[in-house]
Amino acid sequence: MDITLRVWRQANSRAKGKMAVYKVNDISEHMSFLEVLDVLNERLTLQGEDPIAFDSDCREGICGMCGVVINGVAHGPQQTTTCQLHMRSFSDGDVIDVEPWRADPFPVIKDLVVDRSAFDRIIQAGGYISAPTGTAPDAHATPVPKRDADRAFDAATCISCGACVAACPNGSAMLFTAAKITHLGLLPQGQPERYSRVVGMVAQHDVEGFGGCTNIGECTAVCPKEIPFETISRLNRDLISALTHGGSHWPKAAPRRDELEEEEDDIIGF
């Protein structure tokens, strides 16, 4: 196969980026999309050019590290991770557009690599349970209804890749946040923090600068783990319950990325 790649090149987070055109010839249709980028990068390195920076780790679709927008669709034409997308999904002679996730809370670090630490701060705001230390309890000591266990597991498969944000016309991370809320909120271990969790995580989501969810559903069309849309309604349910229960003890959101950077700059400047 011979294809043409139009790839977003951006030297660093402050530089202005642009699309660059590369021809890649004689590739196998069995290659993964990332392997094509590897081949191109080897050639660029031999030519003394800067290789294209992109994220990847496990390359088996389970870690959530990779992800680019291909022809305007997060993770490309197959509903899977970019590493599990193969060139047989394209035709000989195709021109393929490759861009990084685009969202204000996901600044581009270089080329196709974005900073997804906003997700980490949403998790820190409530994506955990408190468990006593000591000997692990017996696995069957806490019964969980099968239906809840299945749904919690479906939500727990979220790998935090960020495709939902990249696909959302509002730049919202609601599917990601809702997956965590559903995962922990359906299990008995998640109950003590159930309501403070939803308030804290949604507050952090908003502080990070993600947009509001308007239930369009583009996120579920690109999610490689097929996180179901109903997780969002479950999050809303918990949020309404939490807000009607009220309470001044709700967690406050941590500062967002650029505020953290300013603090660091202050320390260095001092």
Partner: protein, 214 residues
Amino acid sequence: MAVTGLILIGYLLAHMYGNLKIFAGPEAFNAYAHHLRVLGEPLLPRTGALWILRAVLIVSVLAHMYAAFNLWSRAHNARGGTRRYYSNKTRTGVQRTYASYTLRWGGLVILLFVIYHLLHLTWNIIHPGGAAAEPYERVVNGFQIWSVVLAYTIAVIAVGFHVRHGVWSALTTLGANTSTLARQRLNIGAYAVAGVLTVGFLLPPFAILFGFVD
């Protein structure tokens, strides 16, 4: 957004029911319009119930517009400006409904139409087709002009799309969309409400335009 939207949909259903009274003749239609003004008497003063309804509607519309502006502005900032992806290949999204596209611009169309609509039929300030004292005549005079019917049709179709996504989205936001079955039912319900409103609002003007009602 969800709560105010559902209030406004409730109002639209009642409004549509009132419009269909036009098929019962001038007396029934005018009596209905008059009845709205004396509703609740003597417990409430004349037009008291109407003003309570109007207050709820005005607050709902303003809150709905504020929420819409807030969502738009957050989305605008989160996307990082206007041009998000350079690729033009998937501009219509992967699975989103056409209705979800029309929410923001459609909302503006509806806003402009509501202003015109109030000027015409409620406040009686502009009189396409000739002025009239009674509501029935005012409606019939107006809708004998094809351009008035056209403007009305565009607005009602915008309402239909708005309601299609609105019912679905409002009930999802209120937590009613927690299973595959619920999702199917919400979609069917949203199409049904949107369809009933669109057809119900379009029947009177077209009946007048084609001379079935005069």
